[in-house]
Every structure is written in structure tokens, then in C-alpha cells.
């Protein structure tokens, strides 16, 4: 009895944390979603969520997140693959990861300069003869910047998966007469699928919810679920509607984690 009590005593702060900062916030968001802007109990927020305005917003947010995840994967997979072929792979990997340590806002801010009317991107377009364009505050710049920010997060899990692949399997495939593309399709890719899934998970969920990149880079051209939540909580003060969107975002999050299989980040 004494032992059991002792064991529980030092876990008390942790359990308090679980109750106060994990369980309570989710319940509070759920609770608030049932109140309209005047504080009356109603289902109005859910009715509003299923109107074309919010459904379109959800769909476009999904579309952007999908696009961002897909492009990141297209760039990250070959990069991770080539990284495993280099001599000092840990060092190369570190080089790829360092930019992800720089504050995200600073990187987004850099693109305000680069994509600006007289920025480097437009100078380059002038130089190759296309002529300058409006780049900032377009969906293109939003997707580009977001992909830029998330690429290291996609590379890391794929690299880890590729790196732990048993080379004997590749030799075996080779000995049995498989071509390079067959080896990739039937051996390498299926065995690194878990890394791909983890990468997609760590890119897709933030892509749905980051609001600062849309605010800084896309102006109000792109509204994601995250932007909508921030708008409702901090600008229009309609916490009920904000919570309702948050409830759906939480549901989507669980769905994605269930689809991609839960793995801790960076695993």
C-alpha cells in the first residue's frame, strides 16, 4: 500500500497535467461549440458549418493541404533516397534539418522580400524573359512557401525508413533478376511506406491549420481551417463558431492519424 501510494505521489503533477491540459481543453472546445455568439445554447454553429461557405472553405483547405503534402513528398522522397547514398549521410541530413530550426515566421518573412514586386524572384523572371508578375498574395506563393517550410519534416522520416532498410534485400532482388524500377516498386517503396505515412501526417495536419503563413504570404486569398479558427477566436470573437471548426479539425486529425497509423513524430 505504501509503495503504491509513493508511486502515485510523484505522478500527481503529471496526472494533473493530463486532466487540465489534455482532457479539459478538448471538452471545453466541444462545450463551446454548442453556444452561439450571444452565449445561448444552440446547434446554430453546426448548421452554419454545413452551409456552402464553410463547406467550400473546408474543401479548399483540404485541397491545399493535399497539394502541399503531395509536392513535399515528390521532392522529399528522391532527396531522402539520395541522402542515404552519400558518404557522410548524417552530416548531409543535419544540413537539411538546420533550416527547419530557423523560426518559421522569419522564413515566411524572407519570402515577402523574395516574392515582392522588386524581389529576387521577379528579377529572375525578368532576366529569363518572362517579365515580372504578381507573386505575393497568390495561391502559388502560399503553396511554395508552405512546401519550402515542410520539406525537412517530410525528408526526415523517409530518410530514417530508407536508412534502416536491409541492403541484403536489395541484393536479393537484384540476384533474382528484378530491374531497378521493379526493385523500387516492389521492395524499397513498400518497406519505406511507414516513413512516407509519418511524413504525410506531419505535413498534412499543420498544412490544414497554420494560419500565419496564409496571413503573411497569401493575404486573404487563401483561408485554411486554421485561419478560420484564428479569425473567429481573435478577430470576430465568435468563440462558438471557432470551436465548431476546431471540433471538425480535431476529428479530421484523429482520422488522419488513424489512416496513417500512429507513430510519434520523428520516429
Amino acid at each position: 500500500m505504501g509503495n503504491k501510494f509513493m508511486r502515485n505521489v510523484y505522478m500527481v503533477p503529471y496526472m494533473v497535467w493530463v486532466l487540465l491540459f489534455v482532457i479539459a481543453p478538448i471538452l471545453l472546445v466541444l462545450y463551446y461549440s454548442f453556444f452561439d455568439i450571444h452565449g445561448n445554447f444552440s446547434f446554430i454553429n453546426y448548421e452554419r458549418f454545413f452551409t456552402p461557405v464553410y463547406l467550400k472553405l473546408t474543401l479548399s483547405s483540404f485541397w491545399y493541404a493535399f497539394l502541399i503534402t503531395f509536392i513535399s513528398l515528390l521532392v522529399a522522397y528522391p532527396t531522402a533516397y539520395l541522402l542515404t547514398k552519400t558518404k557522410h549521410k548524417r552530416l548531409w541530413l543535419l544540413l537539411i534539418i538546420v533550416p527547419s530550426w530557423v523560426n518559421l515566421l522569419l522564413k515566411a518573412y524572407a519570402f515577402i522580400g523574395i516574392f515582392g514586386a522588386y524581389g529576387a524572384a521577379n528579377n529572375f523572371l525578368e532576366w529569363i524573359g518572362i517579365g515580372s508578375r504578381q507573386l505575393l498574395f497568390t495561391d502559388f506563393s502560399f503553396v511554395f512557401v508552405t512546401v519550402y517550410i515542410f520539406i525537412p519534416f517530410m525528408i526526415l522520416p523517409i530518410f530514417n525508413a530508407l536508412n534502416s532498410l536491409n541492403p541484403a534485400l536489395l541484393d536479393a532482388a537484384n540476384d533474382l533478376g528484378a530491374s531497378k524500377s521493379t526493385t523500387f516498386r516492389r521492395v524499397i517503396f513498400p518497406l519505406t511506406l511507414d516513413g512516407v505515412k509519418t511524413g504525410c501526417q506531419v505535413v498534412f495536419i499543420p498544412a490544414l491549420s497554420l494560419f500565419m503563413i496564409t496571413r503573411l504570404i497569401a493575404g486573404n486569398r487563401v483561408i485554411t481551417l486554421g485561419t478560420a479558427i484564428e479569425q473567429h477566436f481573435l478577430v470576430t470573437q465568435d468563440w462558438g463558431m471557432g470551436s465548431t471548426i476546431a471540433v471538425f479539425l480535431i476529428l479530421i486529425m484523429f482520422l488522419i492519424i488513424w489512416l496513417t497509423g500512429f507513430r510519434k513524430r520523428g520516429a
Binding site: N3, R7, Y10, M11, P13, Y14, W17, V18, L20, F21, V22, I23, A24, P25, L28, V29, Y32, T79, L83, K85, L94, L95, I96, I97, V98, P99, S100, W101, V102, N103, L104, L106, Y109, A110, I112, G113, I114, G116, Y118, G119, Y148, P157, L162, P167, P206, S209, L210, M212, R215, L216, I229, E230, F233, L234, S243, A246, L249, I250, M253, K264
Partner: protein
Amino acid sequence: MQGKASPAAKIFLMTIIFILYAPIFYLVFYSFNSGGSMSGFEGFTLDWYRELLGDTRLLIIVLNTLVIALLSALFATMIGTFGAIGIHALKRSKNSILGLNSVLIVSPDVIIGASFLILFTIAGIRLGFYSVLLSHIAFSIPIVVLMVLPKLAEMNPSLIDAAKDLGASRWHVFTKVIFPYITPGIFAGFFMALTYSLDDFAVTFFVTGNGFSTLSVEIYSMARQGISLHINALSTILFLFTILLVGIYYVISQRSGLKLGGFRR
């Protein structure tokens, strides 16, 4: 997967690395521009740095950010380490607790921010230093747990049995056996918590009141007003600081043998 990298492969990798670093160096480059904009370099100047370092309001914000990061990492490490030891000893409910543990790691920042805002409002905690500190402690705890747990798992249980057989008290078992063994995990957790806190923007943005600001929030409000080369100067300093942190981090991860992701929110 050892092999040879073809020249094409090297060019591809170099291109990716170039793209990853170009925006950062773009910022650094223009921080020395006397022209005042991020296009057209007019002349070399250190004025932006001088003004930045002379800005007392900003220095206070930097100090706030550091205090929040150190305090939150310290508390999160204590709570998380004891939590991990508790979880490690659990049998039946281990998986459900681990599930709850990872909720805040996978949750989008907006959700964490919004739900904490509701929580603090209901609890009557005034938004400012304490609300930010509490939030940072809260979202750093799970990562500390995840850093400490593997160390506990790889510890041979007979070490504890041996200590007990030799007459060590529970306190001695903890301070002389368990704690020294998991120290690398604790340090890794502390460091992760520190970087989580320093880097966080979205959660802080929700729970910070009017009078209190951290560096990320300040950068955001500066950047929303458009280009100011003060931000560029600031990013140079922060980039150098990051390189320093990466160096420390690298040494710690090499020593502790933990496979650390460079994961940030």
C-alpha cells in the same frame, strides 16, 4: 543502403540545400543594406543592428522569451521525468496514458492555442506572463516524457532489484540508480522543451495578452506591417544563435546516443 552518389544526384542534393538556405541568406544579406528594402542593395551599413540593439523594448521581449523558455523547460522536465517514471511502472493503463500523452504533440497549434485560451478565460487566469508560461510547460511535457521513456525501457530491471537487495531505500534507488541512468534522456528532453518554447508562435499568440509578448509574436506583428530591415538584422542574430544550439544539440545527441529528430512545430 550504402552506395555511390552519381554527379546528377549530387547536383540534385546541392540544389535542394541551396533552396533551403537561400531565403535565410537572402535575409542576412539585406540586413546590411542601407537602402531600407529587400531589393536593390545600396550600400553596406550596420545601422539596423545598432538600432536593434538600442531598442530596449525589444531587449525586454528577448529577455521575456528566454525566461519563459528556461522556466517552462525546467518545469516540464521535472513533471515529465516523474511522469515517465510513473508511466514506465504502469502495466494495464500504459497505452491509454501514452495515447493521452501524445495528444498535444500531434494537435495543431491553433487547436492548442484556442483551447488553452478558453481554459484560461474560464479559470480566470489573466492573459500574460503566467498564461504563456503555463501553456509552454503544458505543450513541452509530452516531449520530455517521450525522450525519457526509451532510456527507462533500456534500463535493466535487475539493476533496481540488485540495489534493493543490497539494502538501498526507494530514495537511494532513485537518486543513485535510476536518475544517473536516464540523465541523457532528461537532458535531451530539457533541450527539446527549450527549443519548442523558443520556437513557438501560434500557441503564444492565442494566450498572450496585450502587455506581454515573446519574440515570435513580435516578429509576426512586425512582419505583418511589411518589410523592415530590423527583422533582417534580428534574423541574422537568431540564425547564428540557432547554429550554436544545433551544435550543442548535436553533441548531446551524439553522447546520449538518442536518435533525435530535428522536429519543431
